[in-house]
Symmetry: D3
Subunit: 136 residues, 6 copies
């Protein structure tokens, strides 16, 4: 009897962004976001750990085709890679590009794209000391 | 009152293997496993993160003796280290040595060996960008 | 509708300690703790992964202010950093400074300090191959 | 007799930038810089490995005061951290902010600031797979 | 005046191999290579750090086109990736596939392919604790 | 014709120490060493990268036997591992256990033990952000 196993693959992208809330005044924005509020923006190398879960297919010994998974994730990351998140990704036009919101954006997009029921966990590293997670 | 704590230790082994399913024809095997289907085999440095959980013993402050744990895990890994998994480990004679199946093999073996109820989680890294997990 | 997201931040401190149980005799202490029982003590670079969870504040897009979180954690770690745990931290005067107990100490202290309900998970690395975890 | 020893310390900063050369036309810029030419910019977590060399002071056992070194380097990095390099750092107003030029900028600035003769080597990581070096 | 800067890029490949010398008898082979002499072979995730050096081109700010460099290195690694080195790479038919010889093989091949004078240093990691280097 | 290749192997040890100079008064010691001057000591996980260089032996394809090298290095590190450097290693009785001096101690000891002419470079990591080097 096969049991449920998880597969985690790691992806990355580089992007610029700025943290600034339209519902807060200038002084409050600086207080909350500090250097991340710099109007000219700044950037990060983001890293993603994506986990899918399921029972290995007895014929292949695998939960999901790596080729298929990579294709779907890379096609999503292509929209973010080497971009300015706030200016070039419509989702962040009126939503702050905080790590919390970026990981939620990725989750929503991927949930649609990989047949949902298998996407199990998503971790986004903004720097080596800072990460954001979402899971079932 | 003591609470439940987890201890994770990291181990590693190097091995060769080949992904090839006897229930699939040659063309399908290449499609599913791509370069991993290369008949001559290839290899990896595998890394294992093993987690046991329990209440610390009030006398020692520890869940489990590290010496005991290391001894059991290393005696298991000795069977895989610097081996060809498909040719030298009987479990993989008729089971594909995918990451999913290797982590399940380790779980089954360790479950027997460390008194089961404490083994909590097992993560197997095949490369730096690829890992497999199993847990309670 | 906002969903629950986790934020993990990484901190570190360096400290000396010795593992020795007063309820065990000398021979048993050496058997249990091996080289960690060395009377002169030894030391580690400890690393902490602290996870808080919650719904992002719609105004800031963030679960918690990083400045506030850092301030609380760093003020706690200040008591441990570049210290001898057994001799200088009162909690370990009559409790063994095993990884299991250190992570529990941190949890108890932080639970009090960050409004408890958001602290979700704590992982303490003693070496690169050894970690201890506690969570809800 | 004391011998020459090197000390390396690691620092980091996050910044946005865009690669675009005014001496090349639009088509050539895209060909040369590819996605790094995106007009909205992108960003990275940069990491610096700074090496100074010298004979340890017999009184302190150290080549240089870490406090002094940190103060000088951090005051320099403060000008880059969470900034848009091309728009906010005058050096890059008419110089492309390639890794090659950023490491040279850091070298020039630090050479002036740490008494030159001891600065020995500088390595700038743009991503985990990309670094730039300069040394005596 | 432009100065000489180095660029290092990191690549990886996975392969199987076996260490066995035809000039040594069986007993001596086991003594020298230990578990690496296992007749069925074993494998590794190899990592390469390749360094080129030169003066940045004033028009591009770069020593060498990353696209060009990647293309040349990846076309070489394609011959090794997911292969059995001894059985599938002619260079190792009569040469032991030790780390020392693999790094020399890569150097020779790349020296021919990237216009030699710029290739400066090559580091091959066989495991996380083992690396081999060659440079000018 | 064989060329010179370098082999680097990584080792580690954990130890306690205190930075305090007998030629400086109390106030100056605190100024120079800051938290590292704490009388109760503190500790680190030290990591060593040891590089030997030479021409690969045509019979084995290797510069030096890994078994032999490991044996010599580990027998040296055994004297430091899980020890208090200042109290238990005679070399540091009247020499400050700064990273600079520890790497010199290791160099002197190893120079004697591995036939000197092949030891090429030694790097000691005190923390993830701090390292010390010595080489020919």
């Amino acid at each position: 009897m096969a049991i449920t196993v998880s597969l985690t693959r790691i992806y990355s992208f580089s992007a610029a962004h700025r943290l600034n809330s339209e519902t807060l005044d200038e002084r409050k924005n600086i207080e909350v976001y500090d250097k991340c509020n710099n109007p000219q923006g700044h950037g990060h190398n983001y890293k993603i750990e994506l986990t899918v879960t399921g029972r290995p297919d007895p014929d292949t010994g695998m939960i999901i085709s790596r080729t298929l998974l990579d294709k779907k994730v890379k096609s999503l990351l292509h929209k973010l890679n080497y971009k300015h998140l706030d200016n070039e990704v419509s989702y962040f036009k009126d939503k702050i590009s905080s790590g919390e919101n970026i990981v939620q954006y990725l989750w929503d997009q991927l949930d649609t794209h990989i047949g949902g029921k298998m996407l199990y966990h998503l971790k986004l590293w903004e720097t080596n000391n800072n990460s954001f997670e979402l899971g079932r």
